[in-house]
């Protein structure tokens, strides 16, 4: 385990020491720390997990058991990058847990345009077999498919005839227990302050200040990143 992680028991012990409490308050303060951990986890410290999930026979994808919120859904490209799917909330969740979902999706009306058209729907001008960029018209994004997340049923719904057998899924997971819950060391002061706040020995203002401080430590400004942004944004253009 990386040295940057510490058990929350350590934060609790430090809080008890700071606020002059006894072992009799440990369990209560441990629960406060647990709540602080969840709060900070979803706000500041969550590190998305990436998994490759198989597509079920009924064109759905079952989400991992520890899933709480998704970050990206896509497919793998040949350059090792994740290309995202388009979120289409018009996709129905009808019978999405049933194996006969696909056969149950019988169309009532025909769509004006369907993905099965031979011509890929670029928004630019197409004439005589050639695409010509038109100024002022949105370019659209290269999409390899569509999806919708059905949180209630813990699955991703895909349209019929989804062409891939697996999807890449980046998500925020529940905090997991590894002996004790582990937390980023840089979050310690925030957790201690959260305990103090809930014991009415400290303030919420101080907690959020420590949390902001922790976030700045966890995601520091790196010169290399700035240089990269500057370089990538240098381009030939007409000067106004």
């Amino acid at each position: 385990m990386s040295a940057k992680y510490i058990p929350i028991k350590e934060c609790v012990a430090m809080a008890l020491d700071q606020y002059g409490k006894s072992i009799g308050d440990f369990d209560t303060c441990w629960l406060f720390a647990f709540r602080a951990l969840e709060n900070a986890h979803y706000n500041v410290t969550a590190e998305p997990k990436t998994v490759r999930l198989p597509v079920n026979g009924n064109d759905t994808v079952t989400l991992p058991a520890d899933y709480t919120n998704w970050v990206k859904i896509g497919v793998m490209t040949n350059t090792g990058e994740l290309s995202t799917l388009r979120i289409n909330n018009a996709l129905t969740t009808y019978k999405d847990l049933q194996p006969d979902r696909i056969s149950s999706l019988t169309a009532d009306v025909n769509s004006g345009w369907s993905g099965s058209n031979s011509v890929f729907p670029f928004l630019n001008y197409y004439y005589n077999g050639v695409y010509t960029p038109l100024f002022g018209v949105g370019g659209g994004l290269v999409q390899f498919g569509e999806c919708r997340v059905d949180d209630a049923n813990n699955i991703i719904v895909l349209p019929p005839q989804f062409p891939f057998t697996e999807v890449l899924f980046e998500y925020i997971s529940c905090p997991t227990k590894d002996e004790d819950y582990l937390v980023d060391r840089r979050l310690r002061e925030a957790i201690i302050t959260f305990i103090g706040w809930k014991l009415r020995l400290d303030t919420d203002t101080n907690y959020y200040a420590r949390l902001t401080e922790a976030r700045r430590m966890i995601t520091p400004v790196q010169l290399q990143t700035f240089e990269q942004v500057i370089r990538e944004n240098q381009k030939f253009c007409i000067k106004a």
Binding site: I23, D27, F34, K177
Partner: protein
């Protein structure tokens, strides 16, 4: 290093008797040793709790003076056949201080591995709903009188484990057992007991000191 003279309840009783009788007490002394012991035990507990709160005025938070603490090896655990809970008996019911002060530490020990992680006390008002919340790894305990009920967080068996308990002690196993208390507490106990006993016996202590016969003055 020279060993210090141990102070016992027998000595304290003798001191109190001599103080009240103003000499070696004879058969006419109407208070038994056991009665004085009852006064001493209650005065000890009262003094202990008072010292904790007095300390809080100095420190700003409660703390048990270390002089009162004793670590006991608890009797082998027994499993309740109905509830499945593991329990044993404390040497005395904990004092009326919150858990963490009355009992300061409870931990398993094993000859081959030394001491284990401390078990966490669960205060009685929290026990009924505690199972609805996540639990830290390790174990916890709750107390009913002198019965201590121990639980592992994952529900595993505690069979064969020996537990030590560090707790504040106001009682002794015998009259001759050395008192485990700070010396400053002895004076507080002495004053507390003699005040009550002189009042109960209606002994005109000041008159005795003036070498005038005991009892109410006739003139």
């Amino acid at each position: 290093m020279a060993s210090l003279i141990a102070y016992t309840k027998a000595q304290l009783i003798e001191r109190i008797k001599r103080h009240i009788a103003n000499t070696f007490p004879d058969s006419s002394f109407s208070v038994s040793d056991n009665e004085i012991l009852l006064y001493i035990d209650s005065a000890a507990a009262y003094t202990l709790v008072g010292q904790v709160y007095a300390g809080a005025k100095v420190e700003g938070s409660l703390a048990m003076p270390e002089g009162w603490l004793t670590t006991y090896s608890l009797a082998a655990l027994i499993q309740d056949t109905v509830t499945g809970e593991w329990y044993t008996t404390l040497p005395q019911p904990p004092l009326s201080l919150p858990l963490g002060y009355s009992i300061t530490d409870v931990y398993p020990v094993e000859a081959s591995r030394g001491r284990g992680d401390s078990f966490l006390p669960i205060k009685s008002k929290r026990t009924a709903y505690r199972n609805y919340m996540p639990k830290p790894p390790g174990g916890s305990y709750k107390v009913n009188g002198s019965k201590i009920i121990l639980m592992a967080a994952d529900g595993s068996s505690l069979f064969g484990l020996t537990f030590y308990a560090e707790m504040a002690k106001s009682r002794t196993e015998s009259m001759t057992e050395a008192l485990n208390m700070p010396d400053d507490a002895i004076e507080a106990i002495f004053v507390n007991v003699t005040t009550k006993m002189i009042q109960r016996m209606q002994l005109p202590k000041d008159i005795i000191s003036d070498d005038i016969g005991a009892g109410n003055k006739a003139s």
